[in-house]
Amino acid sequence: MSSTPRAIQANSHREVAGSLLVVDNVSKTYQRPGSVFQALADINLTLPAGSFQSIVGASGCGKSTLLSIIAGLMPASSGTVLVADQPLARPRAELVTLIFQDPTLLPWLTALDNVAFPLELRGISRPERRDRAEQLLQLVGLAEFAHHYPRELSGGMRQRVAIARGLVLDPAVLLMDEPFGALDEQTRIRLGDELLSIWERTRKTILFVTHSLSEAIYLSDRVFVLHGRPSRIAEVLDIALPRPRNLSIMGSPEFGRLRNQIWNYLSQE
């Protein structure tokens, strides 16, 4: 088991070929009368198909901004985002879907209708979208709650419905913006475990944003550390912990070493 910190620029240029998602020199600057604020500088990421990668960083370091740019919800000030070698300048949920921290379920729709919502927007017939939504609710273990409204579900269940909805268009890349951030620790760990099971089953390419170092290490093949002002990819760690993983791995010396290593990067001024 080993981890290999290195400069991301070198890494990205080496691995661009064959990567499903390429974030190439993306920067984001906010300009207001009398002030200019650069949030992100020269971000380079590559995600091979089927990989699970995470971004960690302190609150307000621009993690969500980066995901919004990758999802096409926000334009980059410079740089490009390529998905399957195609530039992504606007939201295309069939290619890249973002799962928010807030489950953003529509409260007047049942769990089933919420999962089917993206298909409804695309004019898919009711029986077809119901079949698809039922399959995905089964995948996230909520088949028996298909006809419950969001107010009748716990926080963890709502987030699982949001994950099912995120998968309904069968996107190539799934972006997850601290999806378990608002949940209690116990639910968070359990959902992380379930997310791993879903990923192992579907082999979606996932970019997961979190401020929990343990969560990032437990889930990922690779962790990007976002740090500095403006934020840059300060370090990249390959997580060579064996898969499938279970929670006992969190007690291993290697897990602790990786955690300390990331913490050291983040705590550098």
């Binding site: 919004s68 999802a71 096409g72 919800l73 939201p91 295309r92 949920a93 879907t97 973002l98 928010f100 807030d102 953003t104 529509l106 409260p107 007047w108 919502f117 993206p118 409804e120 927007l121 695309r122 079949d131 698809r132 399959q135 995905l136 089964q138 995948l139 996230v140 273990g141 909520l142 088949a143 028996e144 709650f145 419950h148 409204y149 107010r151 009748e152 579900l153 716990s154 963890g156 269940m157 998968l167 268009l169 069968d170 639910t187 379930e194 099971s197 879903i198 089953r201 579907t202 979606k204």
Partner: protein, 280 residues
């Protein structure tokens, strides 16, 4: 992801049903509703009893406080008169037309106000507009629009439109930004964003504004009729008042009051239905 991959491999996992907020019981929301109705009936009965007692005890001169039975007889008698029916019809029509004009305009303007860059300034103007009693402008309305059907509709319209506009703007602003991002990410068109997100979120709040706007509208129309018109129920109220016919005057007031309460309750029913998802 192929559909055959989705075989519910997580279905074996134990669901934390204990964590659930719990499905609302059908009777859970009904009991307070029944209790509120009962309270209203009891209060009405107490009011009628107190009124009758005041008449028997002659706390006020009989010329100023007729018996409830006299007012009831006057009401039945009035409602049987063709002229009163026509006046009621005219007033109802004026209110309906004024509201039909005010609601779509106010909703569209309210959304534009919430979305537009100059929204905050417009909201401040609307707030100032609503703070000024509009009745003081009635003579100006008469000078501009004359003393006909249109003037009363416009006066009712102006009373209602700002209230509905402000509630529509508040409703549009209450739509969570994250939900808007979510529907945009899933590729919703502008029309779909309005139909699938804005309207379901906004409808209950707009209906609250419409309920309030209706009361303002009735006030405006009746006021305009009382001030100058020779048709409409406002004219009836003025006629019975200046004739010192207290049973008929009180009956007129009750007719307007009851009609407004019925319309308000109907809107409240729609509001409850549209906002059922808000109930926890």
């Amino acid at each position: 992801m192929a559909s055959d991959e989705i075989d519910g491999h997580l279905a074996h996992r134990r669901l934390d049903v204990a964590d659930l907020p719990g499905k609302p019981d059908a009777t859970h929301g009904r009991l307070p509703h029944v209790s509120a109705r009962l309270t209203q009936v009891v209060m009405l009965a107490c009011f009628a009893g107190l009124w009758q007692l005041a008449v028997i005890q002659q706390w006020l001169p009989p010329q100023l406080l007729p018996a409830p039975s006299a007012v009831w007889s006057a009401m039945v008698d009035m409602l049987g008169q063709q002229e009163v029916q026509q006046d009621l019809l005219v007033t109802s029509l004026e209110v309906a037309v004024a509201m039909a004009l005010a609601i779509p305009l106010a909703v569209v303007a309210g959304m534009a106000l919430a979305e537009g860059t100059g929204g905050k300034m417009l909201a401040r103007l609307a707030n100032v507009g609503i703070a000024v009693p509009q009745s003081i402008f009635l003579p100006i309305f008469l000078l501009i629009f004359g003393a006909g059907f249109a003037e009363k509709i416009i006066f009712g319209f102006t009373h209602a439109v700002l209230v509905i506009l402000l509630s529509s703007a508040a409703a549009a602003r209450a739509v969570p930004a994250s939900s808007l991002q979510m529907v945009e990410m899933y590729g919703a068109t502008r029309l779909q964003i309005h139909r699938k997100l804005y309207y379901p979120y906004m409808t209950p709040v707009i209906l609250q504004g419409v309920r309030l706007g209706l009361i303002f509208c009735v006030t405006g129309v009746i006021l305009a009729e009382m001030y100058v018109s020779n048709v409409g129920f406002g004219k009836q109220i003025v006629f019975w008042g200046t004739s010192f016919a207290l049973p008929q005057l009180l009956a007129s007031i009750f007719i307007v009051g009851i009609a407004t309460v019925i319309a308000n309750q109907a809107l409240h029913g729609l509001e409850r239905r549209a906002g059922r998802w808000r109930e926890v």
